[in-house]
């Protein structure tokens, strides 16, 4: 029963009102919500581009849009999705909101820098939006030289400036997280009592801090090359376009782990809570996050196997790439083992977690194909690669993001989402996703190159299947959008701990008070110890 006293309880949402109280907030929870709104906008923008791409590919000769427009569509799809949705997705929303709570802190170490990083994302996003509205950019999200520096007539600079600024948003978020985890842990919260979500966000933050500056300087060089023609990437002056690819992928390969490591952290939480067991091999899962963060920096050259990179460098990068596979495999096995003899609930977040593990397994295993030199020569720059990274990023990151959003929604908003609709959406997304992207593996091996506006007719059947899947997927994504908003007003009021979870974020009311905890918690046990939680009253959502 909800008493009148509880209804008027002061929390972070109702402690102040007005647009200024949001735009000038230093509260990590409100900033998390600002991020949520921002990246949702970019997600649906990128999704709209994706829809147009898929519709265009229904027929081999196209006809909906011109080649020029098509090229802009896939470029802007990539830019919006990668730099303005996936990179900030889990760390900047769920991480921002929950990382301080999970370690028992009142806020991040630098709340004003946290707000600044949101503004940077918005400003960067405005540059990118301006470029899109002004006429678009057609270089592909990879900005390969010399096309991007000399030949493209589109809005390369505006987009690049947008990405540059958004990069600093990512750097500052990472910096904030690292300092917070080092310096803001509650008494008793030792490193090996940290929830695995914190571990994975910490590993992510390392990548953000170490990798993103290299992207920034690469963009500066592209900028100079385009404006002043300085020659660093220009073969006519003795420069090497392949140097750009090295610099670009030094960031952009680890960036894949910026996208997927936090997702793995979410899954570790979900698998544990919804089977009420400590994550099997906690230390291995924690260290595998760190291993992925470090090893992820040693493998970028596997994007360059056919780029005129030397044979020996290719071999070294292929060899090292396989080392990243091991920690990923360790995680998957440990999650599966966690289920053994658990008490497994089929709540929506768990369905997303099942979906994640399945899709990530396929995405990860196909990574072994593209890491293999012999096969990569054939499949690189084809739909096989497209399918592979969508399995990781969409099948992996977005599944985990949605799973986490459902899991923490009651805490963030104080309202429950409608369980039935949510389960349905998880199912629709899983099916739609596989129908969209599985045919693309086959397309790719058959030789369909990526970024093709027109294609030989024999590929049409698979393209039509893929587009059909995309329409299912679109419905799947719209559903949570609708029922989440619905739940803000009509959802059941959420109890403090609807799932019987053990993390600190559940030991405070939903939604939490301004400073998260009424008094600083003291931690006396390891993460994921459910023995104390289950005895308490559990309200079933």
């Amino acid at each position: 029963m909800i008493t009148a006293a509880e209804q008027t309880r002061v929390d972070y949402l109702n402690e102040s009102y007005g647009i200024k109280s949001w735009l000038l907030t230093k509260d990590h929870k409100r900033i998390g919500l600002l991020y949520l709104a921002t990246i949702t906008l970019f997600f649906f923008l990128g999704g709209a581009f994706a829809t147009l791409i898929r519709v265009e590919l229904l027929t081999p000769q196209g006809g909906l849009v011109s080649s020029e427009t098509y090229n802009k569509l896939f470029t802007m799809h990539g830019v919006a999705m990668i730099f303005f949705f996936l990179i900030p997705s889990i760390p900047a929303t769920l991480g921002n909101f929950f990382l301080p709570m999970m370690i028992g802190a009142r806020d991040l170490a630098f709340p004003r820098i946290n707000l600044l990083s949101w503004y940077l994302l918005v400003i960067g996003g405005l540059f990118a939006l301006f470029a899109m509205l002004a006429g678009g950019v057609d270089t592909g999200w990879t900005f390969y030289t010399p096309y991007s520096t000399t030949y493209s007539n589109s809005w390369v600079i505006a987009t690049a400036v947008g990405i540059f600024i958004a990069g600093f948003s990512s750097i500052l978020t990472g910096l904030n997280f690292i300092v917070t985890v080092h310096r803001m842990r509650a008494p008793g919260m030792t490193w090996f009592r940290l929830p695995l979500f914190v571990w994975s966000n910490y590993a992510t933050a390392l990548i953000q801090v170490l990798g993103t500056p290299v992207l920034a300087v690469t963009i500066v060089l592209v900028f100079c090359e385009r404006f002043f023609h300085i020659g660093i990437f220009d073969p006519a002056l003795g420069g090497d376009p392949v140097l750009f690819q090295h610099l670009f992928w030094f960031y952009s390969h680890p960036a894949v782990y910026i996208m997927v490591l936090p997702a793995m952290g979410v899954i570790s939480e979900l698998v544990s809570v919804f089977s009420r067991k400590q994550v099997f091999g906690y230390h291995f899962v924690a260290f595998s996050s760190m291993a992925i963060a470090v090893l992820g920096f040693l493998v970028w050259g596997h994007h360059l196997f056919v780029s005129t990179q030397s044979v020996y460098a290719g071999m070294v990068f292929s060899f090292l790439s396989y080392f990243v596979a091991i920690p990923s495999a360790i995680k998957v096995f440990n999650w599966t083992a966690t289920l053994y003899k658990g008490s497994i609930s089929y709540a929506t977040p768990m369905l997303y977690a099942f979906g994640f593990v399945g899709l990530f397994t396929i995405g990860g295993l196909t990574g072994l194909f593209v890491a293999s030199l012999g096969i990569d020569v054939h499949v690189t720059d084809t739909y096989f690669v497209v399918a592979h990274f969508h399995y990781i990023m969409v099948g992996g990151t977005i599944m985990a993001y949605l799973g986490g959003l459902h899991y923490w929604w009651p805490k963030m908003t104080g309202r429950m989402y409608p369980e039935l609709w949510a389960r349905l959406s998880a199912l629709v997304i899983f099916l739609g996703f596989n129908l969209t992207f599985f045919p693309q593996f086959i397309l790719g091996y058959l030789g369909m190159p990526r970024r093709y506006h027109n294609y030989p007719p024999e590929f049409q059947v698979l393209h039509v299947l893929s587009t059909a899947g995309a329409s299912v997927l679109a419905v799947g994504y719209l559903m949570p959008m609708i029922y989440f908003i619905w739940s803000l007003r009509y959802g059941k009021l959420a109890p403090a701990n609807p799932w019987g979870a053990s993390g600190l974020e559940w030991k405070t009311p939903s939604p939490p008070p301004l400073h998260n905890f009424d008094e600083t918690p003291v931690v006396t046990q390891e993460a994921y110890d459910y023995s104390g939680v289950i005895g308490e009253e559990i309200e079933v959502g």
Binding site: P241, S318, I330, F333, K341, A371, Y445
Partner: protein
């Protein structure tokens, strides 16, 4: 093993090799996917929550299992690495007797030149069974030469030469794609590779023969550009003689030597002062902008023809 329905035709010696590696990877993938999916499904049903107050026994992990599922995948990946690297290394080394064809990519077409002087656009005719070596460059942005039926792909980068090779094993007409995004009409930068019986190929080559061989065209260009005024065969000119140059080691001013391969010749035509031959002055003007990439290839081929045949045929394969 034959071809599965989701693989393209196998029309080169590499195709079966690549496909066999694919089958191995597929087997591993299917095994582990089924293992994980099966385990999740079984556990999810077997250990479903039966009461809201249920609390399973805590278990913290097992070292033996962790080692097991670290070592086995690692072993498997090392097999994948070695197997894939082996194929890659073979793909990187064209055999000495390979038939040379030159390729120039530009927005948005493939220009191909046969040694005998035959030129094609977006079509490549080649004889069955001969190893074919492509020496490629681009006039503008990066392109990528991709023939799915041969399982080969190689980026074509402006400012340098890149090489790929294959040995067709089946006659027919196969897709040729540009695989590296190159601008507006990227998806129109496509064509076909026609693999013909050697006799048919010989006929095709003879039929509508347009002119001189590539080396002869290069020789004419050599005269037209007045290269021969300085590069005299008897070494009496202001510049070094080009006879027997290709494949040799050239001593440079300021110490060091460089092997005279296609890349060196190209650089010396376009940026003659990059490497000065010992004993000569930097007097040669640049030909950048005066001669197209195709022209450079013709000159290179002419200079190669001035060297003894075995070295020319080896094409730098050592």
């Amino acid at each position: 093993m034959g071809r599965l329905p989701f693989t393209p035709e196998q029309a080169s010696t590499f195709a079966p090799d690549v496909d066999h590696l694919l089958y191995f990877l597929l087997a591993v993938t299917v095994f582990f996917t089924l293992l994980i999916f099966g385990a999740i499904f079984y556990f999810a049903v077997r250990y479903r929550r039966r009461s809201e107050r249920e609390l399973p026994h805590a278990s913290h992990g097992g070292m033996a299992l962790e080692i097991l599922w670290t070592v086995i995948p690692f072993g498997l990946t090392m097999v994948m690495f070695t197997w894939g690297a082996d194929i890659f290394f073979r793909e990187s080394r064209p055999p000495a007797d390979a038939m040379q064809i030159y390729v120039v990519g530009k927005q948005w077409m493939w220009k191909l030149e046969h040694m005998e002087g035959k030129r094609e656009i977006n079509e490549l005719h080649i004889p069955l069974g001969r190893p074919i070596k492509l020496t490629m460059t681009s006039e503008d942005v990066i392109h990528s030469f991709f023939v799915p039926a041969f399982r080969t792909k190689q980026d074509v980068v402006p400012g340098k030469y890149s090489v790929t090779w294959f040995q067709p094993t089946k006659t027919g007409k196969f897709h040729l794609f540009c695989a590296e995004y190159c601008g507006t009409n990227h998806s129109h930068m496509i064509g076909y590779v026609y693999v013909m019986d050697p006799a048919d190929y010989a006929n095709w080559l003879r039929g509508n023969q347009t002119g001189a061989s590539l080396a002869d065209t290069g020789a004419k260009l050599f005269q037209d550009l007045a290269c021969s005024n300085c590069h005299k065969a008897d070494n009496s000119g202001r510049c070094p003689s080009l006879t027997n140059l290709f494949g040799s080691a050239v001593k440079l001013a300021g110490g060091g030597t460089v092997k005279a391969d296609e890349g060196y010749l190209r650089e010396s035509i376009l940026q003659p002062n990059a490497k000065i031959v010992a004993g000569y002055q930097a007097v040669m003007p640049t030909f950048q902008g005066l001669v197209t990439e195709e022209g450079v290839l013709q000159l290179v081929e002419y200079i190669k023809s001035l060297a003894p045949q075995p070295a020319a045929a080896a094409g730098g394969a050592h």
